[in-house]
């Protein structure tokens, strides 16, 4: 089939293998570089006062991002309140009730939503909530993040429930248990770990989002627990500090980035621990 000498072909094969390996290294390199720089530049600035203090007024050095860290947790909490019930129950519909055609279109729409740029969610929620309320608010920010969570959670829930063995459902029905009970107490419980994993990963993803918060939660340099008022968020604060012309703010942006990465990392490690035990895949 090939008249070229075997040696040359073998050499070519090895050369391509090496090239592929180098590409893989090159792909992972930015991760290493970003992490190294965040740790090097951020670690020296993350201390107790950074975690517990409000931002200082412009021009004064010091201060922290305590309000932004708490604000991010509040926003993600609101997003969970909106995204999780809709996402999980929507996923239940796909795996337990929907017809093939219906499921196909729901998945299609969910994938389209997943691909919608996050900045678009920002302006949509601005028009939907901020304009009628006449103020930026935590509600609006949480809603934007929650909307983003819905398609993610629907898809992971469906995938996880698909792993639950059909025998469990049939067994429950054979015992005369109403279908909804078998879904809630047996199917959802069996797939629970996987679903929670999906929810946590969705949380980690929206926690790092900045664009949808720019014109919804807006940001705040003070403590705010009023959900109808603008609220600070960590990614947004990092952005503001990064593009500001003050060196001290740049330093704090790196510190904020380190905190944000650590939160995301903590969630990821939590997920690893959670999925280490028995999962629906193991029972299949």
């Amino acid at each position: 089939m090939n008249a070229k000498p075997f040696k040359w072909r073998n050499f070519k094969s090895s050369a391509v293998s090496v090239l592929c390996f180098l590409c893989a290294v090159l792909v992972i390199l930015p991760l290493a570089l970003v992490l190294i720089h965040i740790i090097r530049l951020g670690a020296s600035s993350v201390n107790w006062s950074f975690l517990t203090h409000l931002p200082k007024p412009v021009g004064e050095t010091g201060g922290g991002m305590a309000n932004a860290i708490v604000g991010s947790f509040i926003l993600v909490g609101l997003a969970v309140l909106i995204g999780v019930p809709v996402g999980v129950l929507g996923g239940v519909y796909l795996s337990e009730y929907g017809s093939d055609r219906m499921n196909w279109s729901v998945r299609f729409a969910a994938d389209i939503l997943n691909g919608t740029p996050s900045i678009v969610w920002g302006i949509v929620v601005y028009a939907l909530v901020v304009v009628p309320m006449k103020t930026f608010s935590a509600w609006a920010g949480g809603l934007a993040l929650g909307f983003m969570m819905i398609p993610m959670v629907i898809r992971t829930t469906e995938e996880m429930l698909a792993l639950v063995p059909g025998g469990l459902r049939e067994g429950a029905l054979a015992l005369g248990i109403p279908k909804w009970k078998s879904v809630v107490y047996i199917v959802l419980k069996t797939g629970g770990k996987g679903i929670i994993t999906g929810i946590l990963l969705a949380c980690a993803r929206v926690a790092g989002e900045t664009a949808p918060l720019l014109f919804t939660a807006f940001g705040n340099r003070f403590w705010s627990f009023n959900l109808s008022a603008p609220i600070a968020a960590l990614p947004r604060q990092i952005y503001d500090y990064a593009i500001a012309p003050y060196d001290d703010w740049h330093r704090q942006a790196w510190a904020g980035a380190l905190v944000l990465i650590l939160i995301a990392l903590a969630i990821n490690i939590g997920v690893r621990i959670l999925t280490r035990g028995s999962s629906p895949t193991a029972t299949r």
């Binding site: 592929c20 991760l31 239940v92 337990e96 093939d100 729901v106 994938d111 819905i150 790092g208």
Partner: protein
Amino acid sequence: MNAASALRKPNAEERIVLSRPSKTGDAAFKFLTWCMAMMVFVLVVIIGWELFRGSGPSLKKFGIGFLFHSDWDPVNNEFGALPFIFGTFVSSLVGLAIALPLSLATAVYLTELAPWWVRHAAISLIEMLAAIPSVILGLWGIFVMVPWLRGPGQGMPGELYHPFPLLKKVFGFLPLFKGPIYGVSILSAAIIIAIMIVPIITSISREVFRAVPDTQREAAFALGATRWEVTRLAVLSSSRRGIFGAAMLGLGRALGETMAVTMVIGNRPDISASLLAPGYTLASAIANEFAEATGAMHLSALFELGLVLLLVTFVTNIAARLLIGAGGGPKHG
């Protein structure tokens, strides 16, 4: 089970199990989940409707010309989206051109070549790369990547160890690399975009490669093919469609990428042939100007930028979805 126990009355626990399942509970629960599933359609409609409504005045005033005009002048209420569309497409396509070969090579390495432990480690690392928030990548972009790309400045020692001066020196005769080096530029944005879309393209193409049956590889080996020939003949050639889909999905992400791009692209609404010149994208224009929009028409024009962005990502995502066929067509659900 003996006769006596079969005849006794059911105790409370058994009664719950034995009672006739109520149809209303089932119907209500099904309806509830149905409503939640329908939310995805509601959201699609909400997005489209709100953007359409918001861009009403701008649509009415500029019509289709909005897409082809390059003036962006909030003071005189003249708006045209061309520089943003140009910046979005050029940065995304260049980013895709950088990311695609790297991702494919990585996916080939991970599916065909790597030992299992390298594979595991590399896959988790690439997942971590995907999990880095955009704003953090942007922060790194401004303070680390862009200064490195730009180099120490013209005529300084060691200048040519940095990519942009080197590109300009070697390829400066091409219009692509003409003009002064600012650092923040379309090319910087493209590199950041490439970093952001590599994980998704890699993971999709990895799945596509893995879906190729092993018998095909074995057949190629049996014919005496080397490893690379096996990959090329048995894997790559039958994955063309999937690779194209992965690229479209990556492109969809790239087009809508906001924060990191806003931070390194320079935000200047110019159309320049040079990749080293600053640019502007649809998403970064919205991010920068929306909160400070000066008038109703300005706001409406920004909404229309959002509408354009939505439509563009819609098309790429639908194309990707049809090519990859996740879940297949309606037939196989």
